[in-house]
């Protein structure tokens, strides 16, 4: 019986992230539209878009290889698993032992690798440009991300998200290093999710695209998979932000229905707040020049590195 409940709790989390990921995207778009004095599409529009794409014919280039056809599913699977591993409303779920921060970074890296290869597969100029820019961003964002991981791992003593969340809920006090790590994490999240000022998900200008350029040739169900993966990735970063830096409300030791309900409610509230904050930030700035990416992500790296050094210093040397 206990096993059934555990499986159910884990299954709820896996399906929850999948089910509400498009909604979060819908909320960001709606808020953005309202900020620009437009009415904007309804917040469930991303579901309709996915439904539409699933039922459209997938057009393939003549020279598309198996890689091109399988990459969307690989990207979707890797992103879904990664998103489902992040503790959302409760810690100590069945697969919590595998919810390792480094594993999540690796899963996302795998997805990105597959997509970058697929972008170059059919040999169009835009796919190549997109892949090259994506890799530029990745090579700058990943080291910074790992330093963020080190920061929280040094405080919590582990890279397991469940344990980190529990430690942080238990209270670790106000820490400068955590603040710096948060700053770095937000920068990385913006870059990884192809948002302004790094990339513009709404652009029609093929020459300025990063993520969109890589997937420019995709259509039908393949594109649906990629879009769903993009929504999941945004969801993952929201969840990770909530789990690492704002873990309050999460059900930990007490796994009663009430605790779980509180956990779920607070999680959803956090997501909505984040989904509304993102477009507000996006509206205030213009997209940056491609050659500014290293400065943007470099400052994320510097902040995260500073966070790690501060921890070492405050511990009196390790």
């Amino acid at each position: 019986m206990a096993l059934m409940a555990e499986i159910a709790a884990q299954a709820v989390q896996m399906l929850l992230v999948l089910a509400i990921a498009p909604l979060m995207l819908g909320i960001t778009r709606k808020v953005k539209a309202r900020l620009l004095r437009r009415i904007g599409p309804p917040i469930w529009q991303p579901y309709l878009d996915l439904w539409k794409l699933m039922h459209k014919e997938a057009v393939l280039a003549h020279n598309a290889s198996w890689l091109y056809r399988t990459a969307p599913y690989l990207v979707f699977a890797a992103t879904w698993v990664a998103a489902a591993l992040v503790p959302t409303y409760a810690t100590n779920l069945m697969f919590s032992w595998s919810a390792d921060l480094i594993a999540i970074v690796a899963l996302l890296g795998t997805g990105r690798f597959a997509l970058a290869l697929a972008g170059m597969d059919v040999g169009t100029a835009f796919g190549g440009i997109g892949s090259s820019r994506e890799m530029l961003i990745a090579s700058l964002a990943e080291p910074a991300m790992l330093l963020v991981v080190f920061t929280v791992a040094l405080i919590a003593g582990t890279t397991q998200l469940s344990v980190i969340a529990e430690t942080f809920i238990g209270g670790v006090g106000v820490r400068v290093s955590l603040g710096l790590a948060l700053l770095a994490f937000v920068f990385i999240a913006v870059a990884e999710n192809a948002r302004i000022p790094i990339d513009n998900p709404a652009t029609h200008l093929e020459l300025t695209m990063v993520h969109e350029a890589m997937v420019l040739e995709y259509s039908g169900r393949h594109l649906a998979m990629i879009e769903a993966a993009a929504a999941l990735k945004l969801m993952l970063y929201f969840s990770l932000l909530a789990c690492l830096f704002f873990p309050f409300g999460m059900a930990t030791k007490d796994q009663s229905e009430i605790a779980l309900a509180i956990g779920l409610g607070s999680y959803l509230a956090k997501l909505v707040v984040l989904a509304a904050l993102l477009p507000i930030g996006e509206t205030a700035v213009a997209k940056m020049r491609v050659f500014r990416y290293p400065i943007f992500l470099g400052s994320a790296f510097a902040a995260a590195a500073l966070a790690v050094f501060l921890l070492f210093v405050s511990r009196g040397g390790l």
Binding site: L36, F126, I129, A202, L207, T208, V285, A286, R289, V290
Partner: protein, 503 residues
């Protein structure tokens, strides 16, 4: 070396029917000498176009009145001007494609508007049948070097814009060279107007480039009026000015917003979209058409609705303070300034050589505005400044537009405070309807040149030269050594017309 041109044209007989600029008929040597004068500088090429068995060229020695020179074509060829003066090359390629007159010893023999899809050559000339070619078979200029790769963009773009092909050669993200290929929206304007009555011809001309429909109608009306010796009544003159300035501010609002949007700064785009819409709605209320299409006709204009002047002034009152806010936002957003400043610089030498008009020329220090330099209609005596900047980057082109909007609003307020009463139409003569007329009108992009020859009440030949002819080539120069991702920003800051150029 304008003296050279003067010496060349002194004591030559003028074509009597041509108004208001003089037109001279030259021989081969004279024509080549005019080309050399162009190449030496100090003379602007305003236009170069073909006729049944002639080629015409409009010139202006800087600071002096313009003129037109003509050459009778022999053996389907004429001495190339392009070998002396680069800006003539594309015009000559177009002449050969449309009329079949081949420029002798031109540096570039490739077709321009003819993509091989017409089933004939020289549709305005002898029309010999020709086998259809693959439109994609076009020889781009070779680029040599290590680590270079090409990025073909268009003619079909990801957004809803006009078609044009851009061939980038890049080294990583840096553009080494850009070559344009245009002509995808060729509509046969010259063929459609030839032999047409004045009224249908005016309608065709009004549709050459939809965003400049007022300027084109204005230019056509003026050219016809010059040819026939008609002066429109004062009320019509002022209404023409009102429409031209409304069109200018509507387009500039759209452009400023679109430039910001290309830097993904959607806020300015949203607000500028609202401003543009308000202006268009005011135009609709006042003149019965949002873009004021077909409102200007040879001999005058359609009248405005009663209360129209008040309606426009009210709209301006609403927009002006809000626009000032958006300008402040543009100026105070470092992330946006970082994109526009020092991006896509065009040097003063290039805009001088190409005689580039509009915001492209004025942002690079070319102090020319046909409203002031060759005043017409309601502009003589009107008080307005012509903003000129020297930075030549995207930012400068944005600021020229911002300043022009302010000046246009000032003009509109002056005119609308006191619109003369009376008729808006001067009837055209009914007998002896022949002549040649030329006119230049400042569209929002720059100077439109219009040349007409009327024979027995019908258009024998009408040629419209869009300002984009002398702006497109500079876009190739502007993007050099910039990054690929900045091209949309540079392109939007130029906002050249595809349709006006492709004819």
């Amino acid at each position: 070396m304008s003296e050279r041109l003067q010496a060349l044209l002194a004591n030559r007989p003028q074509v009597a029917a041509h108004k208001p600029w003089p037109r001279y008929e030259l021989d081969d040597a004279g024509w080549s000498a005019a080309g050399q004068a162009l190449g030496e500088g100090g003379v602007d090429l305003l236009g170069l176009w073909g006729d049944k068995d002639e080629v015409h060229m409009a010139l202006r020695a800087v600071g002096q009145p313009p003129c037109v020179v003509s050459l009778r074509v022999r053996n389907e060829s004429f001495p190339s001007i392009g070998r002396y003066h680069l800006p003539a090359i594309r015009l000559e390629r177009a002449i050969r494609d449309l009329h079949g007159h081949a420029p002798i010893s031109t540096p570039d023999r490739r077709p321009w508007l003819d993509h091989g899809a017409w089933g004939m050559r020289a549709p305005l000339g002898t029309r010999p049948p020709a086998a259809r070619r693959d439109p994609a078979a076009y020889e781009f200029l070779p680029v040599h070097g290590e680590g270079l790769h090409q990025i073909p963009v268009g003619p079909v773009h990801a957004g809803i814009i006009e078609p044009g092909h851009f061939r980038f050669t890049a080294n990583g993200e840096t553009v080494v060279r850009l070559e344009e290929r245009l002509g995808y929206v060729h509509k046969g304007i010259d063929g459609l107007t030839a032999g047409a009555d004045l009224e249908p011809a005016a309608k065709v001309v009004a549709r050459i480039s939809g965003d400049s429909t007022v300027a084109y109608s204005f230019a056509f009306a003026r050219a016809v009026e010059e040819a026939l010796g008609v002066t429109p009544p004062p009320r019509a003159q002022i209404l023409r000015g009102v429409m031209a300035e409304l069109e200018r501010i509507a387009n500039h609002f759209g452009d400023i917003g679109a430039i910001c949007n290309d830097a993904s700064f959607a806020l300015a785009h949203a607000y500028c979209g609202i401003f543009r819409e308000r202006v268009l709605q005011a135009a609709d209320r006042t003149f019965g058409h949002r873009l004021m299409m077909d409102r200007i006709v040879p001999g005058g204009t359609e009248d405005m609705a009663p209360g129209g002047a008040r309606s426009i002034v009210q709209t301006l009152d609403e927009i002006e303070p809000q626009f000032a806010e958006i300008v402040r936002l543009y100026d105070d957003t470092p992330s946006l300034q970082d994109r526009t400043c020092t991006t896509g610089i065009v040097g003063n030498d290039l805009v001088t050589l190409w005689a580039t008009g509009g915001h492209v020329g004025r942002a690079s220090g070319r102090d020319f505005d046909s409203r002031r330099n060759l005043p017409y209609g309601p502009y003589p005596g009107a008080a307005f400044d012509v903003p000129v900047l020297t930075a030549g980057d995207v930012d400068a082109r944005v600021w020229v537009r911002i300043r022009e909007i302010e000046q246009s609003i000032k003009l509109l307020r002056t005119w609308l405070a006191d619109v003369p009463a009376g008729s808006t139409r001067q009837p055209l003569p009914t007998t002896d309807i022949s002549g040649e007329g030329v006119a230049m009108v400042e569209a929002f992009r720059g100077d439109v040149l219009m040349w007409v020859r009327i024979t027995d009440g019908r258009i024998a030949r009408c040629h419209a030269r869009d300002p984009s002819w002398f702006q497109w080539p500079l876009l190739e120069a502007a993007i050099e050594n910039n990054i690929v991702a900045d091209f949309p920003l540079c392109n939007k800051s130029f906002n050249c017309s595809y349709s006006g150029h492709d004819l």
